[in-house]
Symmetry: C2
Subunit: 544 residues, 2 copies
Amino acid sequence: MFGSMQDWPLTCNKVLDHAARFHKNREIISRSVEGPITRQTYAQTRDRALALAKRLDRYGLRKGDRAATLAWNTVRHMEVWYGLTGIGAVYHTVNPRLFPEQISWIINHAEDRLLFVDLTFVPIVEQIIDQLPLIELVIILTDTGHMPKTSLANCVAYEDWLAESDSDFNWVDVDENDAAGMCYTSGTTGNPKGVVYSHRSNVLHAFQSSLPDMMNLSAKDRVLPVVPLFHANGWALAFSAPLNGATLVLPGALMDGESIYELLSTEKCTFSGAVPTVWLMLIQYMQRNDLYLPDLERVVIGGSACPRSMTKAFRDDYGVEVMHAWGMTELSPIGTICSMKPEYADLEGEAWLDIKETAGHPPFGVEMKIVDDENKELPWNGAAFGRLLVRGPCVTRSYYKLEGEQFVDEEGWFDTGDVATIDEWGYMQITDRSKDVIKSGGEWISSIDLENLAIGHPAVAEAAVIGVKHSKWDERPLLILMLSDEEEATRDEILAYMDGKIAKWWMPDDVVFVDEIPHTATGKIKKVALREQFKDYKLPSDPT
Amino acid sequence: MFGSMQDWPLTCNKVLDHAARFHKNREIISRSVEGPITRQTYAQTRDRALALAKRLDRYGLRKGDRAATLAWNTVRHMEVWYGLTGIGAVYHTVNPRLFPEQISWIINHAEDRLLFVDLTFVPIVEQIIDQLPLIELVIILTDTGHMPKTSLANCVAYEDWLAESDSDFNWVDVDENDAAGMCYTSGTTGNPKGVVYSHRSNVLHAFQSSLPDMMNLSAKDRVLPVVPLFHANGWALAFSAPLNGATLVLPGALMDGESIYELLSTEKCTFSGAVPTVWLMLIQYMQRNDLYLPDLERVVIGGSACPRSMTKAFRDDYGVEVMHAWGMTELSPIGTICSMKPEYADLEGEAWLDIKETAGHPPFGVEMKIVDDENKELPWNGAAFGRLLVRGPCVTRSYYKLEGEQFVDEEGWFDTGDVATIDEWGYMQITDRSKDVIKSGGEWISSIDLENLAIGHPAVAEAAVIGVKHSKWDERPLLILMLSDEEEATRDEILAYMDGKIAKWWMPDDVVFVDEIPHTATGKIKKVALREQFKDYKLPSDPT
């Protein structure tokens, strides 16, 4: 027996329809790559997205076809997302900061037919176009007047292309499970893997992440997504903002402290989202110039852990609430956000910061558990840590062209690759990556905790901890340090500094000093390389 | 090409799982029908719902089977909803205020196998049980100690029945489009019609109605649903509160001003929902006793239009924000809620009240338009009024056992039977029911507007306006008045009072005085009876 409810697929374009109808004059304010700040309402944006959909349809792009974007957060990039999904095609955001060979690998793997590119990235495309045999046309996101001199054979100015069309078009009918978007993970090992967002997952994710205890988005909000659209589905703000009729303020190519401050301030933004690095630049800029942001209420911080000092500075110096978040490309992307439940509502000072340091709790629609190596569920006591597994309608079950492989267990749980604790009230805290955790005598030691401790020593510039083979304990921690210029420290000094601050059996078995610690393109420590470098390292504690 | 996202059906029981896992100690506080106020956490409620599901399964209730409830808002009633949906069966709430013959008609039409009943309503069941051949067992929502002497042959105490089971059970897998709940509309004409909620519509509706610009529900909220679970799906608070981890405070059988005040006050409720009558009783009680509710932040008012004076009293005297809402059983049920968009954020005084008098705007997922008699869409200018059509995943397309008939147009729009205006920013205001609007020379006159005007005359106790046949204008308004005891007024005095306050052509063509105006069981004016009574009425203005 079925319900008597209407069959009304959850599709991305209905979100823009809703915004254009019920929030028609609300704006998308956008710093264009050409320079000027532009203003365009949701109603106008819908008209332009419809015109683009019509143009794409006339071009011959079809349902399920992919188109790549190499672009900043601008209103044109948003139009491209909605224009593509409006004919059932798929937006494929590519991170322009990847190495050129990674970009071409990804575009070829996705078999993108079109490439939308910002002026900034035309040189990259010129460099790799010969390696992109499937790209039929490059659409440069500008107008005739700003078209660059280019070696690209098949390219057109976006505004010219769009001008050949009009908004007299109906969105193409799609199934809510049809593909809407794609984003490749930048794994530290192996080839990138393509996560495919469906219309359904984008809409459900917009609901989940908008809830009062999550991003709490309303029509009163003025939202500045610094996080790029090409980073983990842009934290889905391109859907959640219009779903709630929030004003969008898009930063374009400029993400330095001064430029972000200018937009936050002049556009009276109430909400923003970015990685810690961006906020560090903003806070430093405000400190140097004695500036404040009276309209800014809350910032979501994700991508990597938010330092405690930053949460404190935002609260004490700027009256802004930091909402620590955790997510993944595979999760559409929000997994958890840290807001205060009644159990923690009365916390103050350091106790408040302790909770704010966690990644928070998930919305309805994200199931979560932690398990040990035997897949046995671990207790939620804030101390036990295990592999973090998730499940839900916005969690991937596989990757593009890898549908035959198994990426979830028989109960549908997806292994995040993170190691975490969960406390009594469901607040999750990442303690490590599964592959980086050190497995010593059947117990786990967090490499991140050791690194954070070592970095506190005044002579240490950067610290990495890896597990090294040990005949008795299986693995033991090795601490790898880069010292600050002109600083000195010995093995014993470092170990003495750490002693007493952690459990005895967590203490690194040895310390090595290096001139440089290797990093990935996105700035993370390349532990794979370190493990390779130290694979034959002989620990002094090893009896054999 | 499909998305790579997990198949994770939106089912009701996942909502309770989420609450039990992430808000395990948060309570459902419930005034029991036996008297005492009980407290039970979400974790305990899930255990009891699982035990009930196991008991139902052992009994032999199967997926798609229906069970009726005649019950107040208590935690046991919630357990019944979740226990039933947990095995794929269907909760069918029956309004105990209907006439006994309506109740038995509805239960027989739904072919309910079980009947869950509160102590209060056992006499009703005893009276009609002979007319309910399909009811196999009556489960009285109490324990052994409170079991009444009853003539019912097959009945059992809920707590005894539950005690035969335990929570070691897994929810039965269901499709998200499977039926979860049923509620019959109490039409003024014809037989009641059964709306069938799906798991999907209940979950999506919980998302929609929880959004910051809708009910804005969070884990910090303490929610008192005065609106009964049997009224229009209980405004779906039984799903939206646990989805957000909000505390629930359930009023049981007592809905007088004093009892509601007691719960709102001692349980520090922040949010409540009820029809205007309940709020009137509450305000009168508080006024008489000089009481206040410092914790109460907002109340949703629906079911019928909220008087302007009530919105003002809540704001000025009690610091509570009224959120006017409009919905229907057929809409799961919320269609619109009045919150202030940025366009209206700075309004004060009367201008603020003007907007607060509208029913507000819909969440994403409720499409809306107004059309004239030729189905031509009317402008959104706050003046043009036409038939209100809606569309969405929580809007019904048909009714139980009437799937062959056509209840939506070829584009899927459902006619609400209401006549409304919509303003520039999407704020909807009901002006009449379609069948009550007076069609005069191709133009529409709102019967409700005329009634509201006439009621302002000090001698008038109640007013009804119906359209009466007119040879030239097709229909013209007839004003039917019941005067207050010991008051007097003439036709000409009434018309003189109305003159100048409405357009000339809206003026009633005649006034008749009656001793009583007929009402439906739910207190609405029975216009069908009035139209029958005055069907041959000869208007003095009619030339023939």
